[in-house]
């Protein structure tokens, strides 16, 4: 007990010291002027934050006096919770990572900035230009190591994007930002031409396939090389051949059930959800028929999904054909996990199969995922000025050079096509790694990306159709019943 009380005494001392320290640090924190501070919420891990720092440095050099304060809040949902809390306390950030269903909530506050105003602006803005740019430093070192301060000049540039620059954005990604993609946008003061978000970095779904196994099974092109399926029908034909040769294998593995359902609806025009009432369009005959076909294939042992398997399907892919999957369909962002151990088998990456239409064309459509950027009007006096400067920062984030660096570091796909002309990115694409192969495959799909409309309950719909696929595929419910249940669970009447 003596010791304990001694400890308490020591602790008290520490506390007094602490109070002093605290008082000192607290003084630091008060009276800070936030009027020129742009706050950016994101989810970037360590390695990506290093890349982000270059954009921050560039911006701060271009607009002296303005500061970027960026914060990794947590995951995507954590960013959303933080923004929701901030909007209620009127302390929202200037800029945040976002997903469409988050923005569906944000826009009801009318605080989301309509970026079309800046995109289409022809006004000039003055910025500080340097004689030379050195990663945002305003000096360079001469041979003897002396600092030579760059001379600065005031320069001017147009605030908005040119038509060519807008064209440069991958269409599917860019369209996601239109207000028409959101329920009730007119009620909150936006128009059909309003743009609420701009795409940042994206991912899509790809087929990772086992080349060695395909050659073994004779699934080859004219040159005798492994041939990846172009349509779903081809995929199932291949699956039958593989299953016949390797009875213990499961030819197809799909990671995300929800994505599969949504993609099939989009490719075939069956309907999934709409921004306007009645929102839920997935309860259709065509969908049910497709689910029944899947159930048939499941019974034959042709396919599995993440929920049915109980673990990542990439684990099945890396196992090899005998007991694993030959076609593993998963995110381009997770390419690293699809890589088998060296020397086990040859792999390839292909675009997602398309649906053969009655007119003989193939409808490719692939889901696009990954964060966009959303700006907020802040509850401060210079809100307009801050929004303009935030826009200037967004522009730096969306410069092809920066996007190239960021895409290479993250393994995600850049939203602007001119990124592909950047030398560093080309080198990356020409690499031999599975990430490079995934990036190459994704680059061929730029015309086919889509996103689903966002409204309150759109994330519920997503979860529900994923369940529908699982229930119908495994035969726990008939397709009709599963769809009807999901419809009710979404709140449809």
């Amino acid at each position: 007990m003596k010791n304990f009380l001694k400890t308490i005494r020591t602790l008290s001392l520490v506390l007094v010291l602490g109070v002093v320290l605290f008082a000192m640090t607290a003084c630091d924190g008060f009276g800070v002027d936030n009027s020129k501070k742009i706050i950016f919420y994101h989810t970037m891990g360590d390695s990506l934050q290093q890349v982000l720092e270059t954009a921050k440095a560039k911006f701060e050099a271009k607009f002296p006096g303005w500061v970027i304060e960026h914060t990794q809040v947590g995951g995507y949902d954590d960013v959303k919770s933080a923004v929701v809390a901030d909007l209620q306390g009127q302390t929202q950030p200037s800029l945040a990572y976002c997903y469409a269903d988050h923005v569906a909530q944000y826009l009801t506050t009318k605080k989301v900035v309509d970026m079309s105003k800046y995109i289409n602006s022809t006004e000039q803005i003055t910025y500080t230009s340097y004689e030379y740019e050195m990663d945002g430093e305003d000096y360079k070192l001469d041979e003897e190591g002396n600092k030579i301060v760059a001379s600065t000049v005031e320069a001017q540039e147009v605030v908005g994007y040119t038509a060519a620059e807008i064209e440069d954005f991958v269409k599917g990604y860019y369209n996601e930002g239109f207000a028409t993609n959101y329920a009730d946008y007119e009620k909150y003061g936006y128009s059909a031409t309003s743009i609420l978000t701009l795409p940042f970095v994206k991912s899509t779904e790809l087929v990772y396939y086992n080349k060695t196994a395909l050659v073994d099974c004779g699934i080859v092109d004219a040159a005798g090389k492994a041939k990846a399926p172009v349509t779903w029908d081809e995929l199932w034909e291949d699956a039958a051949i593989i299953k016949a040769k390797y009875p213990d294998s499961t030819p197809v593995g799909y990671d995300s059930e929800a994505n599969w359902f949504i993609t099939m609806c989009e490719q075939n025009g069956w309907g999934y959800t709409s921004a306007t009432e009645p929102h839920y369009l997935f309860k259709g005959e065509k969908q049910a028929q497709w689910l029944d076909t899947l159930a048939g294939y499941y019974d034959k042992g042709y396919l599995t999904t993440q929920s049915a398997y109980g673990s990542y399907t990439s684990n099945l892919f890396t196992k090899g054909v005998e007991t694993g999957v030959t076609f593993s369909i998963g995110s381009s962002g997770g390419a690293n996990h699809q890589k088998p151990a060296d020397g086990t088998f040859e792999w390839g990456v292909a675009r997602l199969p398309g649906s053969l239409q009655s007119d003989g064309t193939i409808a490719y459509k692939a889901i696009s995922q990954g964060p966009s950027l959303c700006m907020f009007f802040e509850d401060v006096e210079n809100a307009e000025e801050k929004a303009l400067m935030t826009w200037e920062f967004v522009k730096i984030l969306l410069e092809p050079d920066f996007l190239a660096a960021f895409s290479i570091a993250s393994g995600y796909n850049p939203p602007r096509q001119s990124t592909f002309d950047i030398e560093a990115y080309q080198d990356h694409l020409n690499g031999t790694s599975i990430t490079a192969a995934a990036a190459r495959a994704a680059a061929t799909m730029v015309d086919d990306f889509f996103t689903s409309p966002a409204f309150v309950g759109s994330s519920t719909a997503r979860t529900q159709v994923g369940n529908v696929l699982v229930y119908a595929m495994t035969g726990q419910k008939t397709a009709e019943k599963a769809l009807a249940d999901a419809y009710v669970n979404c709140g449809g009447k």
């Binding site: 304060e69 684990n315 393994g411």
Partner: protein
């Protein structure tokens, strides 16, 4: 305990010819009972230890090993074996802030524990021993607040704290959590175990309430108080959601935010689970040491004398 037990047996058995036999029989029973006690405790110990073991082993696995469908009980050679470098990576990756965040956590931990303890003792004492008008209503209200999920408080408190200008300060991490009804209630019950006659005796002797509280009640409930200290400190140490919300600047965050801050393996941008686990292990070490330090006070409180009347 067993020794005194045997003594008791000796003292109480009649000293007839069977005394030795009785003693032997008793010994056998004691031994059997002990065997069962140890088997029981060992089973529970395995149950308790397994997840902790898993945490340590996961922190030493490679990411590929972690993602396997069939998990391994230890890092497997075919996936790279033991990855001691995980720990180095974690500490190196955020070296610049680790020291600051560690200081934040220790500072906030000590400060809120001590202040919260003082408030808990005062409140619990008043509720247990003093009579004042409205006491029962107050106690009922306090218990009532435990029945509403804390999730409903978060946004309102966040708004309050930011309006007070507490964002990115220590105050925000300390003040809103100083009152813990769980501990007040616990200590009140512990205080109520101390017989009232003692209080009356003290009153007759002219000791004030404060004097009685500090000189009699606190020492007598030391094991409970130390448990509360420990739990409160661990609670602050592990708090996660609130600091993430109110202190968004990295320099003002706590270790638990650091743990889930997105460690990435070289050449990858995906958060690494194994690195995260290594960080979690690092932050558990001080708590483990703290427990070892406090354990003896919990086990041998100030007095072994129960004084229940």
């Amino acid at each position: 305990m067993e020794k005194s037990n045997d003594l008791q047996v000796m003292n109480n058995s009649e000293f007839n010819l069977d005394a030795n036999k009785e003693k032997k029989k008793e010994k056998v029973i004691v031994t059997i009972r002990n065997v069962f006690v140890y088997i029981f405790l060992t089973l529970v110990a395995i149950f308790s230890f397994f997840p902790f073991y898993w945490m340590i082993m996961t922190s030493l696995k490679s990411e590929a090993d972690f993602r396997q469908a069939v998990p391994g009980f230890f890092p497997r050679a075919e996936f790279g074996g033991f990855q001691w470098s995980n720990y180095a990576n974690v500490l190196a990756g955020r070296n610049s802030v680790f020291g600051q965040i560690l200081f934040n956590t220790v500072f906030v931990g000590i400060f809120s524990t001590v202040m919260s303890l003082i408030i808990t003792i005062l409140t619990a004492y008043a509720l247990a021993r003093m009579n004042f008008s409205g006491k029962n209503i107050l106690f009922a209200l306090m218990l009532g607040t435990m029945m509403i999920p804390g999730e409903m408080f978060t946004v309102t408190n966040y708004i309050t704290a930011s309006r007070l200008g507490w964002a990115n300060t220590y105050v925000a991490l300390i003040v809103p959590f100083l009152v813990s009804i769980y501990y007040i209630y616990l200590l009140r019950n512990a205080f109520m175990q101390i017989p009232e006659t003692l209080y009356k005796a003290a009153k007759v002797d002219g000791i004030t309430d404060m004097g009685y509280l500090v000189k009699v009640m606190v020492p007598l409930t030391a094991p409970t108080l130390i448990s509360i200290t420990l739990l409160k400190f661990i609670g602050t140490w592990n708090s996660y959601i609130w600091p993430r919300l109110i202190n968004k600047q990295r320099a003002w965050r706590l270790l638990s935010n650091w743990v889930s801050g997105g460690f990435t393996q070289a050449g990858s941008s995906e958060p690494s689970n194994t690195l995260k686990m290594a960080a979690a292990c690092i932050t558990s070490i001080p708590l483990f040491l703290l427990f070892i330090f406090f354990r003896k006070y919990i086990m041998h409180g100030v007095s072994k004398s129960g004084i229940k009347g």
